[in-house]
Symmetry: C2
């Protein structure tokens, strides 16, 4: 068993999974990432304009689901969850590519985030460029 402590929480106008966009680029709103001040040193080199990968924990997901109909569409076949982005899966980690819009201490505003208000944040990673840029 692995134990994870969230490093922050999503603050968003989205509160209802049923009506939230299924992906960030499908009309999701801006959101604030409220980081634990204890990890602020890790945020020091982020800047507005950067694209980052945000990892979250879908705390309202069902973890006993192994097959779903993609996008909840009744006319699509049952599909193994590891071939879908369904939040319902054994370890419901969300992966979101977002752009940093604004930074205010340990709070970071990003665009196009479909995660619900209160979603725990696990990690932030840079988007990898080509080998020569690393």
């Amino acid at each position: 068993m692995i134990e994870i402590s969230p490093i922050g929480v999503v603050s968003s106008p989205l509160t209802d999974a049923a009506t939230a966009p299924k992906q960030g680029d499908e009309g999701a709103p801006d959101a604030w990432l409220e980081f634990d001040p204890a990890v602020a040193a890790g945020l020091a080199d982020l800047a507005p304009g950067q694209d980052v990968l945000l990892l979250t924990w879908f705390d309202r997901a069902a973890r006993d689901v192994l097959a779903v109909r993609p996008r909840g569409a009744a006319d699509r076949p049952l599909t193994g969850v590891f071939s879908t982005r369904s939040p319902d899966r054994p370890n419901p980690i969300g992966l979101h590519r977002v752009t940093v819009l604004e930074i205010s201490g340990p709070r970071i505003k990003v665009n196009d985030l479909e995660a619900l208000d209160g979603t725990p944040i696990l990690d932030v990673k840079p988007v990898l460029g080509g080998v020569a840029e690393r």
Copy 2:
């Protein structure tokens, strides 16, 4: 506190972090992903040739690190971990884009994986195409 049960483990010739490639596309070997048979139904729609995102847990990472010199290079400035892909970070989740080479029951062979032998597997996700393909 969030509790995660790994869904499998990496079987790889790589055993030493000091000499392992830093990213998959820097000469990392093929590896087998050995999934727990209990999640096999979730793997049903994966097929050779597909690119997937593999999420792992860097179980040998240091979790109290908030700044590193990228790629361990002494001549690079200390950088906040959330702007790096360092395995040393508060929640050391690895994110790897790999291609499925072969499937044998709950074992899946992939290419270019820099994770060490024995690394726990947390999740597998499809690479998202354009909105029209979802």
